[in-house]
Amino acid sequence: MFQLDPANAFHARVADRLTKEKVGWLTTVGADGTPQPNMIWFLWNGGDKIQIYSLDSQKVRNITRNGGVSFNLNGDDEGGNVIVLTGTATIDSSSPSAAENAPYVEKYAGGMKNLGLDPVGFAAAYRNPIVLTIARLRGH
């Protein structure tokens, strides 16, 4: 199982950014083999799982067909601070809804407000729970 090593400086930075940052890039692969990156909100569980709620049924179709996905955070203007996670995504109907996921609601309360939604309204729209199981980390 994937686990970050807090004694490793790179891993410690990854843990910090996965905890603090609000947006990341989830890339799924379309039926024709084209990778499709999308900006998403995410909640890392501190271990090998990232919880995502999707509005978009295209991502769900792609993941149902091919669970191979990547997740990257923004880098910097010099090609540095690269964090790429790869692994397998599933549509996880056992996940709590976004509204029932307290740490998610806490992380994105401001973002939901900006969308003009309360957690229940958000959960009704972003109703597809995706769980990414991290298999590998690369970057520097």
């Binding site: 940052e21 947006v23 990778p35 499709q36 990156p37 990547s70 880098g75 690269v82 790869t86």
Partner: protein, 142 residues
Amino acid sequence: MGFTLDRTSAFQARVYDQLQHDPIVWLTTVGPTGQPQPSPVWFMWDGADKVIMYSKPDRPKVRNIKANPKVALHFDSLARGEMIAIFTGPVEISDQYPPVNKLPGYAEKYHSLFVQLETDADKMAAEYTTTLVFTIEKLRGY
């Protein structure tokens, strides 16, 4: 007629600036098992529908492209997810462009990064011998 940007659109005018000036774009290829693999790369835009990138020949992205030329490019967003620009289309390994040290504009665009990395376009050209030419087919974002 290939892809063109409509600079009367605020979104596309911004993308035009990003294509001209941003130093880094993420290139995502798909591996043999269907696993997407994003990597940050340096690039030059031709002002129309082509984005030119250089790679070391033995990189996984080059192997992936040989098997599946469908790729995506995306720029970093801002911290809260503003300024999204995602391109999809085919990439080809091409011998129709000059090496990186002879490509007009490249050494100038990356001058400060070359200085910082204590290298230059000539040294890069010796290693980054594979030319990747991406054709923009679709743009999405906001």
